[in-house]
């Protein structure tokens, strides 16, 4: 028997069968955004008119007896690093001010084809560099669970929009944990697919070999629905895998009977006591449901964070070179081209982006390449091999998503290293390219959400969703005691 549909699935079903108009669904979402977003600041741009028009088109399809698609009339928010034709796409950076992409990202096209209605673009850390959504040219997004705290990042706007209930679905991107970490902080489901399962075409690159687009939802089932729509081969992305979208909705009720779950030491060690407690509770719950849970240690994962903070900035230093004032976005005039480049980039990029460009430029420099970039690549191989060993004995791994719950706004802005540590448990999956997911599993003493992280081998989306769905059904009721 299938689990109860989540809000997105239920809405799509109602719209497809004529029980509800897409117009009313979208109007309600737009009204909710208008009511909530002032203090929240999850959105950078709301596509009110276009959303209403798209909803009307869905309704027209239903009236004419055409199938409007699996996400008919479902409002979706997009992280502002996903290109939307004719609509601002800023990556929360001054340097992209005024730029309107002439094309839609592949995921956006697929959403539209599935009947989903894009309602707006969400706030993020500039160019996805950050773990709190404070590195935004327009100011931070607040955590809907506690407005004095950050929503996590870099996809904080998307996580907050779903957590606040203004949209049932949102897309984010995850380079080092940028979907899973804010999902954990905001108490929603957030998933990073296997590298290559979702096309990156139209995702403004941060670190190309690590970036992957993924879903935010309030339930595992809704996340599955969204993943199936956006996944699948895309000839416009050479790193896109030549295979159909994983059939994850069909795996939701597979259960965990006999599933081999590895409770990973290195994904717990630096965690706060309450976080570790919830992960252990999750392990026990899974064991109670028939899974075989064992502890496992993968020491190489500890090397992931330093390797990540060389590889990601190295790629970023190259990916962000194109913002030079010549063709689009901000231009600060100067007497010659070189001076114009410098003036534009000085004014257009925020401090964290500059820090990472410098770090990455250094790591790739002649004479340092082998010591930094080369060595980090070798560490990456070690991480992949460590996971490979683990998956000989386990079907999925379990750990914390983040070492702590959401921290107060401003607490870490002046301490980059402490901010980087938020990604400790999430970066290994980006380095390995494996899928991983945050599933809310209770809260700490202050009522702040705690998420547990499930990890699976490459293309293990089905077993990942099966385990996540089971875990979700075992989780304490939202707001309940841990």
């Amino acid at each position: 028997m299938s689990p109860t549909p989540g809000p997105a699935g239920a809405t799509a079903e109602a719209v497809r069968t004529g029980g509800r108009s897409a117009r009313s669904v979208v109007e309600e979402a737009l009204a909710a955004i208008a009511a909530a977003d002032g203090p929240l600041h999850a959105f950078l741009d709301v596509h009110a008119d276009a959303a209403a028009a798209d909803a009307a088109a869905v309704d027209a399809a239903v009236e004419q007896g055409r199938d409007p698609g699996p996400l008919a009339g479902v409002p979706v928010a997009l992280k502002d690093n996903l290109c939307t034709r004719g609509r601002p796409t800023t990556c929360s950076s001054r340097i992209l001010e005024g730029w309107r992409p002439p094309y839609d990202a592949t995921v956006v096209t697929r959403l539209r084809e599935a009947g989903a209605v894009v309602v707006g673009k969400t706030n993020m850390d500039e160019f996805a560099m950050g773990s709190s959504t404070e590195n935004s040219s327009t100011g931070p997004t607040r955590n809907p669970r506690d407005p004095s705290r950050v929503p996590g990042g870099s996809s904080g706007g998307s996580a907050a929009a779903v957590a606040a209930g203004v949209v049932p679905l949102a897309l984010g991107s995850d380079t080092g944990g940028s979907i899973r970490q804010p999902a954990a902080f905001c108490g929603v489901v957030g998933m990073k697919p296997t590298y290559g399962v979702v096309s990156r075409y139209g995702l403004v690159a941060f670190a190309s070999s690590l970036d992957q687009i993924g879903p935010f939802a309030t339930t595992v089932g809704d996340a599955a629905l969204l993943l199936e729509v956006i996944a699948g081969h895309d000839p416009c992305d050479s790193t896109s895998l030549d295979r159909p979208a994983p059939d994850v909705t069909a795996a939701l009720d597979d259960g965990v009977e006999g599933l081999r779950v590895g409770l990973c030491q290195e994904l717990l060690d630096e965690g706060d006591a309450e976080v570790v407690g919830r992960v252990r509770a999750a392990a026990e719950a899974l064991a109670g449901a028939g899974a075989k849970v064992d502890e496992v240690s993968l020491p190489e994962l500890r090397l992931g964070l330093p390797a990540y903070y060389l590889l990601a900035p190295a790629e970023a230093s190259s990916n962000l070179a194109r913002y030079d004032g010549v063709r689009y976005g901000l231009r600060v005039d100067a007497p010659d081209a070189e001076a114009m480049n410098t003036a534009t980039r000085t004014a257009g990029f925020g401090a964290e982006v500059k820090r990472r460009i410098m770090l990455g430029t250094y790591a790739l420099s002649a004479g340092y390449y082998d010591a930094y970039y080369g060595k980090a690549q070798r560490v990456r191989t070690l991480v992949i091999e460590a996971f490979g060993r683990a998956y000989e004995s386990f079907d999925v791994l379990l750990g914390a998503t983040t070492p702590s719950t959401a921290f107060p706004i401003g607490a870490k802005v002046d301490d980059p290293w402490s901010m980087y540590l938020s990604d400790l448990f999430t970066v290994p999956s980006n380095l390995s390219g494996h899928p991983a997911m945050n599933v809310p599993f209770g809260a700490d003493g202050e009522g702040l959400p705690i998420g547990v992280q499930l990890l699976a081998p490459a293309l293990g989306e089905r077993v990942l969703f099966a385990a996540a769905s089971a875990l979700e059904s075992l989780a304490p009721a939202p707001g309940g005691a841990s």
């Binding site: 690093n81 996903l82 290109c83 796409t89 990556c91 992209l96 730029w99 992409p101 002439p102 094309y103 990202a105 990156r200 075409y201 139209g202 995702l203 403004v204 690159a205 670190a207 190309s208 070999s209 000839p235 416009c236 992305d237 050479s238 790193t239 190295a314 790629e315 230093s317 190259s318 070179a321 194109r322 030079d324 010549v326 063709r327 689009y328 010659d336 081209a337 070189e338 480049n341 430029t361 790739l364 420099s365 002649a366 390449y369 970039y373």
Partner: protein, 492 residues
């Protein structure tokens, strides 16, 4: 002028050592990483899209045809075709949309190989790799230099056009050899259909690494890279100038500094562009947006099979048709005919016509009008050469008919000849015309018969000219000559 690969050093006791980097634009239908048209001369910024403009979020997808073309080059240069990857070469320049160039670096598609020059010398090939071209910047005001320009305009039509960079070993020893190498390479690129080889349009661009060393030394001197060589003439002049500059420096007790130099065509000299210290740190790293390029054996076989005979083999074929030793001017004709892809005219006409005649018509008349020649029907050419060989048309007449055939793109040579009034002169009419000239010019005739070989040759030519004039070029030169000899013999 004869060009040889290993000419004696033109700088006295010094030997010039040259390695060339040739960039060839591939004439694929579309660009290297997107489906924009790859065309020269279109309105600026019309063949552009998010990918070749490097817009945020866009991603490159490798063009299969460009890989095929690169493999054709590698195969023709006897390279090993290897699994390869792309790197990013990072530097800021307004005509480079992404501020990095996607290029192959230490794992290129074609490795090792050689190119054989017409004199039989083999020049080693280090590599021939794929990369994307940049856009084109025009600087307005202040003599077109970037630093003083009032305004700079960029055309991105060329951005993303596929290039293959062919790097030679430092095997060349003279300006002439460098020119011979580029000429031969150009012929190969045209013959394999991968490039139009037009240096003046920038389809073929050459950088020269030049150093000098004492004759007999096996160590290399410090080299300078010379850029902006837009023609064979520039290449030759620049190499000569640069070698002479280095020799002068060394002989004055100085040292050559490794640097990049710019060839100033007007001033006829190289000027410093940037020193080794100022060289860019390109921060190469593997391009994460592309995957391993590993052409399978079937693809490689397909490419190898698609390559027709290469210039060297085609030249050998023509020489073989000539039989015996070819003269210097015939060798020149063979080179020119093959270079312009006109050799099939010769092979179609000969046999039955003598190869020397077919080669002369192709090497002179066809080669003079290469555009028209490409659309000429080879059968029409063969028919014409046969008429001339059979004595039905004189050389003069034959050339006139050929000119008409070229203008019309073909036709029946016999009909064209008739139309032009070139009825072959009958034997009797010819004999009568010769007799008339002999009678009218007794002094010249006497001198022709004198027995002085030099005088005979001179006067024979003059008499034949009179016959040609009298017959309005209708007489066959050879037949006139024979008739004159016959008369002289009869007289003696």
């Amino acid at each position: 002028m004869t060009e040889t690969a290993l000419a004696p050093p033109e700088t006295g006791a010094w030997e010039t050592v040259i390695g060339l980097e040739v960039h060839a634009e591939l004439q694929t239908a579309t660009k290297l990483f997107c489906s924009c048209r790859n065309a020269f001369g279109d309105e600026p910024n019309t063949n552009v899209c998010p990918v070749c403009l490097g817009l945020p979020g866009s991603l490159p997808v490798l063009n299969r045809e460009a890989v095929t073309f690169a493999m054709r080059i590698g195969t023709a240069l006897h390279c090993e075709i290897r699994p390869s990857i792309f790197h990013r070469k990072n530097y800021f320049y307004p005509d480079m949309p992404k501020d990095y160039q996607i290029s192959q670096y230490d794992e290129p598609i074609n490795v090792g190989g050689w190119l054989e020059l017409p004199d039989g010398e083999r020049v080693g090939i280090v590599r021939a790799h794929l990369e994307e071209d940049t856009g084109k910047t025009s600087h307005l005001g202040e003599g077109g230099r970037i630093h003083a320009a009032d305004e700079s305009l960029v055309d991105y039509n060329r951005a993303g056009v596929p290039l293959v960079e062919i790097v030679s070993e430092p095997d060349l020893r003279s300006a002439a050899a460098a020119r011979a190498y580029v000429t031969e390479l150009r012929g190969l690129l045209i013959a394999t259909g991968v490039s139009d080889g037009r240096m003046e349009e920038g389809s073929l661009r050459v950088d020269a690494n030049v150093s000098v060393r004492p004759v007999g030394s096996s160590a290399f001197g410090t080299r300078c890279e010379v850029k902006n060589l837009n023609s064979l003439r520039s290449l030759g002049r620049a190499v000569e100038h640069e070698a002479a500059r280095q020799v002068a420096l060394l002989e004055a007790g100085g040292a050559v500094t490794q640097e990049t130099r710019h060839w100033d065509e007007e001033a006829g000299r190289t000027v410093p562009l940037r020193s080794k210290e100022e060289a860019f740190d390109y921060r190469y790293f593997p391009e994460p947006d592309l995957v391993l390029l590993e052409p399978d054996e079937a693809w490689q076989r397909e490419v190898a099979a698609s390559i027709g005979p290469l210039p060297a083999a085609r030249r050998a074929r023509l020489a073989e048709l000539l039989g015996g030793e070819a003269t210097e001017s015939q060798l020149e004709q063979i080179r020119s005919v093959v270079e312009q892809g006109l050799d099939h005219f010769v092979t179609e006409a000969s046999p039955p016509a003598p190869a020397a005649l077919a080669l002369a018509r192709a090497g002179n008349e066809l080669a003079a009008e290469p555009e028209a020649a490409t659309s000429l029907d080879p059968a029409a050419f063969a028919g014409l050469v046969a008429l001339e060989a059979g004595g039905e048309l004189s050389a003069t007449q034959s050339k006139k008919v050929l000119a008409r055939l070229l203008a019309d793109g073909g036709g029946d040579p016999l009909a064209v000849a008739a139309e032009l009034g070139f009825e072959a002169l009958g034997d009797d009419a010819l004999a009568a015309a010769v007799a008339e000239v002999v009678v009218a010019n007794p002094d010249e005739w006497a001198e022709y018969c004198s027995g002085d070989e030099k005088l005979q040759k001179q006067k024979g030519g003059w008499l034949a000219g009179q016959v040609m004039r009298a017959t309005k070029g209708q007489a066959d030169g050879k037949a006139v000559d024979e008739e004159l000899r016959r008369l002289r013999a009869a007289q003696g």
